[in-house]
């Protein structure tokens, strides 16, 4: 177990190195001249050349990349091209907190709603409740958030006037309800599907039959024997679902005017602000890998049958 964690952690820097190399290459050969971005379009060619030299952009590709990695190792992700004099970290940090709150709350909500609904569907397998829940899950599976948002905004903002249309006022303000709802719906669908499948798998196990045949009340069988075992695979699903959550959050932030990392990254891409693009991508990749590592460890803790090599 310990060896496994160490091996996974050792793989992380390599992974980040590759991710950064790909992003750096795409940015290097991509459109836009950072020096021009910095100086504006009306700068003279001489001034741009001077600026390029100053920013070290006239050096060979690999030297620039090596330099970037070296600085990143010293926790310096560089300066933004378009926001003069602001470091990437200064720009990202406040947005990171906003995005983390948004995604954390959405994850919590989708787990709290999705798992009980999935269990309900499994217990009521074959009834109309099951059919309704499965249909719900199929409908919202992989549904981009910008499709659900217009309907909810139309009803709750424009007709019922319940919530403001956009803005960020912290996690405990009515304005957060719609973004969270829109972001959570596809995730709820994922957990309903996986919990249902997992519970149905467990129900057919021998130990559940044993529990029933020794006369345990159905409630005890369902909670102690089915639920606890059915939840184990959900841990892995939760780790993997982070990718979908990130994609959803980027668009939610755009739609509802929430100042998060996604919004920052979108702006940075359109302004060719590559240091910011790289910073946000690397943070996203780190978060994803670490989350999946934590999920794998929790999985092993929750299920003693799992042995990692």
């Amino acid at each position: 177990m310990g060896v496994y964690i160490v091996r996974r952690l050792l793989w992380l820097p390599f992974l980040l190195l590759i991710v950064s190399f790909i992003t750096f290459t795409l940015g290097f050969y991509g459109p836009g001249d950072p020096a021009e971005v910095r100086l504006g379009t009306r700068a003279t060619p001489e001034a741009v050349a001077q600026q390029r030299k100053q920013m070290g952009l006239d050096r060979p590709f690999l030297v620039q990349y090596g330099d970037y990695v070296w600085r990143a190792l010293h926790s310096d992700l560089g300066e933004s091209y378009s926001f003069r004099g602001r470091t990437v970290w200064e720009l990202v940090e406040p947005k990171l907190i906003v995005s983390a709150q948004l995604m954390g709350a959405a994850l919590l909500i989708s787990l709290l709603i999705g798992i009980p609904l999935g269990l309900l569907a499994a217990i009521k397998q074959g009834t109309w409740i099951d059919t309704a829940l499965v249909s719900f899950a199929l409908f919202f599976n992989a549904l981009p958030v910008f499709l659900t948002a217009p309907f909810l905004v139309l009803v709750f903002v424009l007709r019922l006037h319940l919530f403001p249309a956009s803005g960020w006022y912290g996690l405990f303000h009515p304005a957060i309800v719609l973004p969270l709802l829109v972001l959570s719906l596809p995730e709820v669908a994922v957990y309903v599907r996986y919990t249902r499948a997992s519970a149905l798998e467990v129900v057919s196990q021998d130990y559940v039959r044993t529990a029933r045949s020794k006369g345990l009340p159905e409630f005890v069988v369902q909670t102690r024997h089915v639920l606890r075992n059915a939840l184990i695979p959900i841990i892995t699903t939760a780790g993997l679902s982070l990718a979908g959550l990130v994609s959803g959050a980027v668009i939610i932030e755009l739609l509802f005017g929430i100042p998060g990392v996604g919004n920052l990254a979108l702006t940075a891409v359109s302004q060719r602000d590559y240091p910011v693009v790289m910073g946000t991508t690397l943070m996203g990749a780190t978060a994803f890998v670490v989350a999946n590592l934590i999920a794998d460890i929790l999985y092993a803790v929750a299920d003693p049958r799992i042995r990692y090599r």
């Binding site: 590759i18 991509g30 549904l143 981009p144 217009p150 994803f288």
Partner: protein, 322 residues
């Protein structure tokens, strides 16, 4: 062959000479949800294919005297902010979506994913390690960032390439036709969509190559190619078919997301994502909902139908996982 009385009285033929796939297809068509899904997809994609016949107007025809008109007999779904017919744009957008999803799923998901998964599963060792690690890297990228970066950075390169190609060969109209957009979006979609498929195929092959019928094939001198194509692939197909069906839905969603963000399909080529992106503001939602709701609903139906079909296929092909 004699038929049993029960079969005669029901008027059905005996199930003879019917292969596994024919049985599966029959079972599939007996499921209402499969029929609904296939019907929805057939209607939507057929209107995309025959867009030039169905559409009453050119998708780019602007009529400045008819701006933001509500649905009427003249304009079935109304007009947008520069007087273009929404219905015509909608059917042409379905064509765009159809082309991109089919090309991306077949070449990206299916071809690349299948081949890499086969290689990783069959050869194991360093081939497996290499392919699995590369897959892990692509999985570690937040998909949306990878797609955005690829779409935003490779577009000018692709544009240059196509222009040079046009100049050197004398073929014209590729750029105007939007081939650049297709290549860019396809590149961004294919970059991540192969990973899941490769993993699925690899897992299947790892299990199948230990089976006795593969041993038997190898013992009787079958070539590696023959073992893969004749013995391994057909047996690995059921979960692959389900994944492809679900893949169509998610690729259609990803394509729309890119265009929605303004980095996928560029105007004047119509796309569902672009139409939604242009209509995505409160004023339009409040006063002209017909501008944004039709593409939203069509895209919802496309994604739902693929999910539904995938689910029905799963019931039929993998009965154990029901």
């Amino acid at each position: 062959m004699a038929t049993t009385p029960a079969e005669q009285s029901l008027g059905v033929k005996p199930a003879q000479n019917r292969g596994l796939w024919a049985i599966a297809a029959r079972r599939l068509l007996r499921r209402p949800k499969a029929v609904i899904a296939i019907a929805l997809l057939a209607i939507l994609y057929a209107s995309g294919i025959f867009a030039n016949v169905i559409a009453p107007y050119d998708y780019n025809h602007q009529d400045v005297t008819q701006v933001r008109q509500a649905p009427s007999t003249q304009h079935l779904l109304g007009t947008d902010y520069i007087g273009r017919d929404i219905f015509s744009r909608l059917v042409f957008s379905m064509r765009t979506s159809l082309i991109l999803t089919v090309v991306s799923v077949i070449t990206g998901t299916l071809l690349i994913g299948l081949i890499l998964g086969l290689l990783a599963g069959y050869y194991g060792r360093w081939v497996d390690t290499l392919i699995s690690r590369v897959g892990e890297v692509f999985m570690a990228f937040p998909h949306i960032f990878l797609m955005i970066i690829i779409a935003a950075t490779i577009r000018p390169r692709v544009l240059d390439m196509i222009r040079n190609f046009e100049d050197s060969t004398g073929i014209t109209g590729l750029v105007r036709w939007g081939i650049v957009d297709y290549l860019v979006v396809f590149g961004a979609l294919a970059a991540f969509s192969w990973v899941g498929m490769a993993r699925l195929v690899r897992g299947q092959i790892l299990y199948l190559k230990e089976t006795q019928f593969v041993d038997a094939a190898r013992a009787s001198g079958a070539s590696v190619w023959r073992i893969m194509v004749v013995h391994l692939l057909p047996n690995a197909l059921p979960p692959i078919i389900v994944a492809v069906s679900l893949g169509f839905g998610s690729v259609a969603a990803a394509e729309a997301t890119l265009s929605f963000l303004g980095i996928g399909i560029q105007p004047p080529i119509p796309s569902l994502g672009r139409m939604i992106g242009e209509g995505q503001n409160l004023t339009i939602l409040r006063n002209q909902p017909w501008i944004i709701l039709p593409p939203v609903i069509v895209l919802m139906v496309i994604i739902f139908a693929w999910n539904l079909l995938g689910d029905a296929l799963n019931d039929v092909l993998n009965p154990r996982t029901r």
